[in-house]
């Protein structure tokens, strides 16, 4: 089911780049459906994350962004769905690793923070114990060292009175503080990749601003690569270096952050940007994308966006476009067939 790394290297030796931290190739995630068929939540996704980069994965609910991150973490159990393709961290294949080996990587090399910090913290254990657990599992530190390190981490995420907070339970903290604890836990073993799945969606704007600042500071301190999953294009514009837009399990556009906002190419990206009210401009009316996100398995051929696309061509209903390269930008749309090269 998983491709052997050596085999892959033989086939494609130039795929290894010194700067690449994470390389995802031909990722397909599928779930069993009725009558022995499959639905694909993620359909041939390719991307790479360079060291010290912040990359945003953007899309509406159900487009496959969260499931992509779960597959990187190895959190999709075998009986639940199939993960095909290759996920390599520092040239080491992660897809297909045994649960035991994966546990050594999770929390140490890749960490994740989630949207709802209340449900991702254990309500019956003290904060200090939960952060300490990560350190205990991945290092040989003594009890005393663990406590010192825990307090140091809480200081780094700017929690006041860290020596007192370690004895608090999650419900005693506010939403913003809980998210700081989650970040402290995620960064405790200095991971090279941090996956942040909608880290500020449940927070108020003033708290969101604090958390985004904190993530930026820590990124510089710890030399971490961040994969930020979000639906909020404002957040993307503030923190990301590069953006990937997902729709219906595929990456439909990929570009540097300024390029994406100044020269969006895919009609879906354009639609998303036109849909949001902006504090800096006055629009009388918004220009929404018509219709809804289709259900998985609903569309079997052609471009999945064509039903909502105002530029749809005849070709779009029969053939799904490949990703076209236009300079540094990638776009999956037939409109750019002439301009771009197939990647």
């Amino acid at each position: 089911m998983t491709t052997n790394l050596l085999e892959l290297l033989e086939k494609n030796p130039e795929a290894v780049d010194e700067d690449d931290l994470l390389v995802v190739e031909n990722l397909v995630i599928q779930f069993a459906a009725e009558k022995k068929s499959h639905v694909r939540a993620v359909n041939h996704v390719n991307f790479n994350l360079k060291k010290r980069e912040t990359v945003a994965l953007v899309g509406e609910s159900g487009c496959g962004k969260s499931i992509t991150s779960l597959s990187i973490m190895g959190l999709i159990p075998k009986h639940a769905g199939d993960v095909l393709g290759s996920i390599r961290l520092n040239n080491k294949e992660l897809n297909g690793l045994s649960p035991k080996k994966m546990r050594q990587i999770r929390g140490k090399e890749i960490s994740m923070i989630f949207q709802e910090p209340m449900t991702s913290l254990n309500p019956v254990h003290k904060i200090g114990k939960q952060i300490g657990e990560v350190i205990r599992l991945h290092t040989k530190a003594s009890k005393e060292e663990i406590k010192v390190k825990t307090i140091e981490m809480l200081k780094k995420v700017e929690i006041p009175r860290p020596d007192k907070i370690i004895n608090d339970y999650p419900h005693q903290l506010s939403g913003g503080m809980r998210q700081r604890v989650m970040i402290a836990m995620a960064m405790a073993c200095n991971p090279s990749l941090l996956i942040a799945d909608e880290p500020t969606t449940a927070l108020d704007v003033t708290i969101q601003a604090q958390i985004l600042d904190l993530m930026n500071d820590l990124k510089d301190q710890f030399d971490t690569t961040i994969l930020l999953i979000t639906h909020d294009l404002g957040v993307v514009a503030e923190v990301a270096d590069r953006v990937m837009v997902m729709y219906y399990g595929q990456i439909v556009e990929e570009a540097e952050v300024t390029t994406l906002f100044t020269q969006p190419k895919h009609p879906y990206t354009l639609g998303l940007l036109n849909s949001i009210p902006n504090l800096e401009e006055n629009k009388d009316r918004l220009d929404p994308i018509v219709g809804n996100v289709p259900n998985l398995g609903e569309i079997t051929e052609g471009c999945p966006f064509r039903f909502r696309c105002q530029f749809a061509l005849e070709k779009c209903s029969t053939e799904n476009p490949p990703l076209f390269n236009i300079e540094k930008q990638k776009v999956r749309c037939w409109l750019f067939e002439e301009e771009g090269e197939v990647s």
């Binding site: 506010s174 708290i207 601003a209 957040v235 906002f261 998303l272 902006n278 504090l279 809804n292 996100v293």
Partner: protein, 327 residues
């Protein structure tokens, strides 16, 4: 001068905190603590603030879904807070509400046609079943849903479609005022834009007045004529949209505006960061409730509650910085 539709003055809603088996009152959560504003027919008032600031309670207190503790709400010159049950039912025909979560606010066991018919029969609209059915079908079309969907159940619809049904139910009785409590915050951006446009279309067609409650400042800015910014139960700034954005005066409004991420990577704006969290509303800080997080805090703010000061016509700020007695 436009006709004044709603006048809210010094509205207060306090919830008792009860402790022990005897349920003795040990204090109050002052969810709404002195909110005043006026709203003309056909206008949209946006109420914005962070969670726990009392914006939803304000909306519900106006409708008397929660009974306010004190203050007055005048609708077309008539006092709402002292109405009897029967009179209140009549008034509900004119004031309706749209909720945030359209899944929780629609009965999952009955079809959407029945949901809408219920609203009609409660207020005796339509003379028989057949006529009501026809009204229901027209309502569906009006909110952009296909007539053929009338016999489906709420779970068969997507979030955006459900919100359209919630709106159809609110406009079914032909109201004058609609209070929309976070109607788009559970929706994806492309759907959010569709629903915001629907709100605007209906306002034009039916001459509706809205109180639009949201935490997203860009959404509020898009849809409102007037905006009230709330913090810990108080309206700290109230102005027309243009005044508020060209001259944000309360330190909280300024911080709130600078915290909103702008979808433009080329624009790096100066951030005013607020320290800490919103204080516990059961034990709010003394004096100005914002003084613990304020960048312009003075000695007087810690002890004395600020008054509402009109800094220009229609632009009210509740802050000592604009009080000549302290400057």
């Amino acid at each position: 001068m436009k006709e004044e539709l709603l006048e809210v003055s010094d509205l207060k809603t306090h919830f008792p905190i009860q402790k022990g088996i005897l349920k003795r009152n040990t204090g109050f959560v002052k969810a709404v603590d002195g909110v005043s504003f006026k709203l003309a027919k056909g206008e949209t008032l946006g109420i914005v603030g962070e969670s726990g600031c009392g914006k939803s309670t304000t909306g519900r207190s106006i409708l008397r879904l929660i009974n306010p503790t004190s203050g007055s709400v005048k609708y077309k010159g008539k006092e709402v807070t002292s109405l009897s049950k029967g009179e209140l039912l009549k008034l509900r025909k004119e004031m309706q509400i749209v909720f945030q979560d359209p899944y929780a606010s629609l009965n999952p066991r009955i079809t959407i046609a029945s949901i809408l018919e219920e609203a009609l029969s409660t207020h005796s609209i339509g003379k028989d079943k057949k006529e009501r059915r026809e009204i229901v079908l027209q309502l569906l079309e009006r909110v952009g849903l296909n007539r053929q969907l009338a016999n489906r159940y709420p779970h068969e619809f997507s979030g955006g479609q459900r919100q359209r049904i919630g709106i159809a139910r609110a406009i079914a009785v032909n109201p004058t005022l609609i209070i929309a409590d976070e109607p788009v915050s559970a929706l994806d951006v492309s759907i959010q834009a569709q629903i915001l446009n629907l709100f605007q279309d209906l306002q034009e067609q039916m001459g509706l007045t809205y109180i639009f409650i949201a935490h997203d400042l860009s959404v509020v800015k898009h849809i409102s004529d007037k905006i009230g910014v709330m913090y810990l139960g108080r309206m700290v700034e109230y102005a027309s949209k243009d005044d508020l954005f060209s001259n944000p005066s309360h330190p909280y409004t300024q911080a709130l505006m600078s915290a909103v991420p702008v979808p433009n990577p080329l624009m790096k704006k100066e951030k005013i960061s607020l320290k800490g969290d919103v204080p516990n509303p059961a034990a709010p800080p003394s004096g100005c409730t914002f003084h613990t997080r304020c960048n312009a805090c003075m000695e007087v703010c810690k002890t004395i509650k600020p008054k509402d000061i009109e800094i220009s016509p229609g632009h009210v700020v509740s802050c000592h910085l604009y009080d000549s007695a302290y400057n």
